[in-house]
Each structure stands twice: as C-alpha cells, then as structure tokens.
C-alpha cells in the first residue's frame, strides 16, 4: 500500500526477516519495486480489529441451576471421582483395552504380562560398583539382550524397571525417589547389590540409606557385592516370573503415589 507506509524507526527484523518489505527499511528506500516482492506482509498498524460475533442460534444452552445444587462445579467433580473410585475401575489394570477384556480377562492379561515380561526396559541408574556389573551384564559376554532388556533408557519416562545398582546415599535419595516417581506404571524395582538390599558394607555409615526399601517398594533383591552378572540375570528372570504371576508391588497398588503416606 503506497500511502499507508508506516515509518518504522527500529530495525524490526522480526516482522520482515528476509527484507521483502522495504517499507521497513530504516534507510528509507523508495518503495517496493513492481512485482518483486509479492509476499503477504502483515499489517503494521496497531488497530484493534473488531471481533466477529455470531449469535448462537443453533441450540438453547442449559441453565446449570436446573440441575440442582450438588451436581455442577467442583463438588460435583469430587463426587463423581468418589463414585469412580468406589466402583474399583481405577485399581484394576490401567492398560486394559476397555471393553474387550471384560469378556476374556484372563487370557489377554496373561498375554499382556508376557509382553511386559519379555521387554522390560531398565533405567540407566547405576550409582556405584554394581553399575559396572550391570554394564557387564548388558554387554557381549553376559548378554541381557537375550531377555529383551538391552535398551537401558536414559529417561525415566520410557523405562519399566529401576535397577538400583550401587550404594544409595542420603544426598542421592531425593533424586532417586524422583526418578522412581517419574517412571510410569507399570514399574518394578530391583535392588541390586548388598548396599541396596540392606546397606551392605556401609551399614554403619552416616550418609548412606540402609537399604532402598526404606524409601521405595522393592520387588526383587539381588544380593552380592557386587552380584555376578549371572546373579543379576537370575534376579531379572525372577522378576519376569513376578511380572507374569502378577506378584510384586505393582498390581495391588491403587494409582497414586507409590510411597506410603506418613513418610
């Protein structure tokens, strides 16, 4: 637009990154050459555009007051949640395909559990010496990829199992618990090594947590200092059995914080 060219004193490259609009050129060029800049340029004016209002002629909205005092708003939501929780759907397997499994719960559950058991992805959470043994389990000589556990995920959001390998100190307890909380359900925890089972050789120390079951639920304990890779594999096979038999802590938990209240 020839006459509506605003004088832009500041070099506003954000509006005009490739210089198509020479109206914004601070040097003050003599206007756009013909047809060379055909790009659409947003209007540089600051006028408020009137909103276009379409009146609602499609339906008559309901009046919330018609439904009674306890049926809308926050209280209604809380009531609804209570009903849902009382009906028990929240404490069942949350990864169900709704509907189909109600009909044949046993077989599909079993298949799901087999799928989970054969593809448990651990989180890379090696703390100390047991981490070396965990890495040794993951590499060629003792290959944990035979059980599908090779992808050690770096992010807790993608992991299934938290293998706590190494001494847990009080400074590390908070980050480890955060990691545990961040892992989505279903999740299992393996305490690898003596230090995580019970404190191990650092039982008298002032700065270690004497066993991680003081702060998180543990499904499998693998003793040893450090446990041999074969020992860890045995522990993981036990975990697979746990997964298939639906033992361990996860299936009985309601959805919610996994650390009991009062801690």
């Amino acid at each position: 637009m020839a006459q509506g060219r605003p004088h832009v004193a500041v070099n506003d490259r954000a509006l005009d990154p490739i210089g198509a609009n020479s109206a914004l050129d601070p040097v003050g060029g003599s206007g756009a050459p013909d047809g060379a800049t055909a790009l659409p340029v947003p209007a540089a004016s600051t006028d408020v555009v009137e909103a276009i209002v379409v009146p609602n002629t499609l339906w008559t909205p309901v009046d919330p007051a018609d439904y009674g005092p306890g049926t809308t708003g926050l209280n209604a939501e809380i009531e609804h949640l209570r009903e849902v929780e009382a009906s028990g759907v929240m404490s069942r397997d949350d990864a169900r395909w709704s509907g189909a499994l109600e009909i044949i719960p046993t077989k599909a559950d079993y298949v799901l559990d087999l799928i989970r058991a054969n593809s448990l992805w651990p989180l890379l959470s090696g703390l100390a010496c047991c981490a070396i043994e965990m890495m040794s389990t993951a590499t060629s000589r003792n290959d944990i990829d035979r059980w599908g556990m090779f992808p050690f995920r770096a992010s807790p959001r993608q992991a299934d199992v938290l293998i706590v390998a190494g001494t847990l100190t009080t400074k590390m307890a908070e980050p480890l618990l955060r990691l545990w909380e961040e892992i989505p359900e279903p999740k299992w925890c393996v305490a690898m090594g003596d230090c995580t089972c019970s404190g191990g050789r650092f039982k008298r120390s002032y700065s270690t947590v004497q066993g991680i079951d003081r702060i998180m639920p543990v499904d499998v304990y693998v003793p040893g200092c450090p446990p041999r890779p074969e020992g860890l594999i045995y522990g993981m096979m036990k975990l697979q059995k746990l997964v298939v038999d639906r033992r361990g802590h996860w299936p009985e938990r309601k959805i919610g914080p996994t650390v009991p209240a009062g801690l």
Binding site: T170, K171, A173, K203, Q210, R214, L263
Partner: protein, 185 residues
C-alpha cells in the same frame, strides 16, 4: 630418608618450625603454626632449591584436642615426600590460610576439609560443603561425631540420622546456630 633435605629445611625455616624435622622411611615432616602457612608454603613452592611444585594431598586431622591441616608435597630435588603439618588449630574455630593462591587444585581439597571438620580456609573463594548436602549441620570426621550402629530412624527424604542423634534436646532450626564456630553437643 634424605638427611640433606633435613638440613636444608632447618637452615631455611629454622625459626618457624615448632618442632624437630622428623624423618621416617621416605617421608620428612615439618610442623609449623597456622599463621606461617602462607610464607612457608610459598617458599617451598617458589624457591628453586626446594621446588616443591606438586601438591600431593591436603587434608585435615582432628587429634582430639586440636586440629591440624596436613600438606604433602613432592619435589624433584629430593627422594622424600615432604609433609607440612600446620598444627595447633583451635578445635572450636579452626582457621588457616588457604593454599589456593599457589595451587588452584587445592580448592576442592580445602572444601572437603571444611565439610568434614569445619576448618575454615581463609582465602578460598568457594568454601562450601562438597560431600554432604548443603543444609547438613554436622562435621562428620570430627572425633566427637560418633557412628551409630543402625542409624536410620525415619526413612524418606529427610534421613539425617547423625543429626538427630547428636542434636541437643532443645535444638530447633531457629536455635541451631553456630556461635562463632562452636559446635553444638
């Protein structure tokens, strides 16, 4: 056991040594006061006939009635390790000049001595806790800090067994202050 080193040290630092130069196996030990640390260590580092340019270790020691800071140095001019003991630090408020002006790598070693003993190194630009969490209130390697056998009483994030054991009965967060370096309990 380098006798020549002993004579060199006695000649150079005679009046500053608070005791005889002791030698055993392959170590030579000199003892100085905390005030002399800067001068002695700088001389040991800079002078070409001493040339103790490698800092092997810096640590604190709590002898029960006083604190010490011990430096271990190596020089190509002698076969011995040199141990410099800055002795006589007050247990309640141990202060010693920092060695970071010579060896920047001493910064973390001094932080560790502070964390474990409470020894304040004057001149260290970063004197804060290194091993224990920042709000830990005790100095673990002191001799009045005792290990318990089963130390954890409450699980969870706030597990600080030794602080609960050692804090006096009326200790609250508001009153857990350090009064000019004196330790509680």
């Amino acid at each position: 056991m380098d006798r020549a080193l002993r004579t060199r040290l006695e000649r150079r630092f005679g009046e500053r040594l608070t005791g005889p130069v002791r030698q055993r196996h392959d170590e030579t030990e000199i003892r100085i006061t905390a005030a002399d640390v800067t001068e002695v260590v700088r001389s040991l580092h800079d002078e070409p006939e001493l040339d103790f340019r490698l800092l092997a270790d810096l640590c604190g020691v709590d002898t029960g009635d006083r604190m010490q800071v011990v430096y271990h140095l190596w020089s190509a001019t002698t076969v011995d390790w040199l141990r410099v003991v800055a002795d006589g630090l007050d247990r309640e408020s141990p202060r010693v000049p920092s060695a970071t002006f010579l060896w920047k790598g001493a910064e973390w070693m001094e932080r560790e001595a502070y964390d474990m003993f409470g020894i304040v190194f004057e001149g260290n630009r970063d004197l804060r806790r290194i091993y224990m969490p920042d709000d830990y209130a005790s100095f673990p390697l002191r001799k009045d800090f005792h290990l318990a056998d089963d130390s954890s009483r409450s699980p969870g994030l706030g597990v600080r067994p030794m602080e609960e054991t050692l804090a006096p009965a009326d200790a609250t967060p508001a009153t857990l202050l350090r009064r000019s370096g004196a330790e509680r309990a």
